[in-house]
Symmetry: C2
Subunit: 271 residues, 2 copies
Amino acid sequence: MQNPHPFDAATHLSKTGPGEYSGHTHPRYDNMAGPYGGITAACLLNAVLEDARRIGDPVSMTVNLCAPVADGPFALSAVPRRSGKYIQHWAVELTQNGQLCTTASVICANRSESFHAHPGQMPQVPQPSGVPPLDLGDRMAWLRAYEFRFIEGIPDFKGLTGPGPHPARSVQYVADLPPRPLDYLSLTAIADSFILRIFKVRPAMVPMGTVSITTHFIATAAEIAAQGTTPVLGVVDSTRMTENFHDQTMQIWGKSGNLLASGNQLAWFKT
Amino acid sequence: MQNPHPFDAATHLSKTGPGEYSGHTHPRYDNMAGPYGGITAACLLNAVLEDARRIGDPVSMTVNLCAPVADGPFALSAVPRRSGKYIQHWAVELTQNGQLCTTASVICANRSESFHAHPGQMPQVPQPSGVPPLDLGDRMAWLRAYEFRFIEGIPDFKGLTGPGPHPARSVQYVADLPPRPLDYLSLTAIADSFILRIFKVRPAMVPMGTVSITTHFIATAAEIAAQGTTPVLGVVDSTRMTENFHDQTMQIWGKSGNLLASGNQLAWFKT
C-alpha cells in the first residue's frame, strides 16, 4: 500500500465512540511548540466531516486555540448542537489528558442555486509557474509542508530589511507539498498558513500566536474539488496592531478567479 | 429614577445562579422575526462582563445564531473554558425553553503596552455633522434604535434603483439613538448593525440572516470609552455571494482615526 500523503496522515482520526475520535500530532506539521494551528483546525473539521449526522457541506468554522497542543495523542469530540432545514451547527473540542486545548464551532449547510454576485475582485497576478517558490531553508517543519510563491510582501525571514514597520499585506500562492488535490480539510489548514502579520510588519522572533481563526467557505464543494493541485492565491493583511493583539484578514482565491474562502483571525504577540 | 437607555434595558440580565442569567427581549430591538442579532450578541457578551471570574477585557467574540430567538424571556449561561496568563476563553449560550438558540465564544485578555502599528487607514470622510442622517421611515424597530449617516453606498430601501447587482460596499456613521457613550456592549451590537450586503447588492426582501458573526476588539477599553457619544465610522463590504451564502467584512473606526474593531460574518439568503 502506498504511504498516505503526510496531510492525510496528520489529519487521520480513529473513531473511539459516537462523535469521539483520537488523533496524533505529526512531525511534518510541527510549529515552534506543538503542531501548526492549521493542521489542528483541519483535524477538528475532520471530526465533523466523518460524522454521519452531518448535513451538507461546511460553510464556516471558528477555531479557538485555547492552549498549546503537545506533541502526542489527542482526543476529539464533535456534537451537533442545532440542526435546521438548511443549516447545522456543531461544537468540536480537542483535549489532551482531559485538558481542553482547542474549541471550534463548525457550520454546515445544504446549498442550492441562488442569486450570485462577486463584488470583490482577485488581484491581477502572474500564473504560479511564473513566480519562484520561496526557499525557506531549514525552518519550522510545517513551513516545509507548503510551497509559497510570493507575488507581494515576502516576510523578512532573514532579518535583512530592518525593524520596520513594513507593510502588512502579502499576495502569495500556497500549495501543499507534495501536491495534494484541494478539499475542505486542506483549505482549512491553508487558511492558517499565512505568516502572522506582526512578523511581516516587524520581523522579530517574539512569542506570538493565533488566538482565534474564522474561515468562511464561500465556494461550493465542486469548486473546491475543481481546484485540484493548482496553488491557491492568498491575500492577507492586517488593519491594526496594539497592546498585544492584531487583526488579520485573509482571502483565498481559486484558479477560476473566484473566491474560495475568506476570513480573519485574532493574533497575540508578547511585546 | 430616570428610565434606563433602551439599550441598557435590552441588555439587562438578572443573575439566576453561578454563570447563569435570565434576560428578556425588548421591543425597541425587534427585527423581522425576534430580536435584532446585534442586541442578542450584546446580551451574550454581558453575561461574561458581569462574571467575577473574568480576567481582562474582551478581545474577540464569535456569535453563532443557530435558531431564531422568540420575543420573550431567555436564559444565558457563561462558562470559562480555559484561562491562561494573558488570555481567557469563554463559552456562552442562549436558550429558550431549554432549546439552544445562540452560542458564542468570547475571548478576554490582559493587555499591556507593546509594539503598535496601523497598516490600515480609515477612509477620508466628512465629520458626522456634515452627513445627513438617513430617514428610515417606519421600518423594523431596531433600525430606529440607530442613527445611520451614509457617506457611500446607501442601501436602496425604497426599491428605486433597479434589481442590481449594485456595489456591496458602504461607508457610514452609526450611533445609538438616543445617544449613549460607547462601550463593549454597544460596539458589539453596532458590529451587526450593517445591512446585510445581499440586500445592498440586490435590494429585494427575501428571507436572509446572519449565521455567524466574529468581532475582534482591537482598541483598548480606554479608547472605546474615549469615543463617548460620537458616531463611529463603519466600512462594510462583501467579496462573494453564491449558493445561499455570502461573506461580509466590517471595520469600525473611532474619532481618533484608529480602528476600534474589525470582523466578518457569514450571511445566508434563501434565493
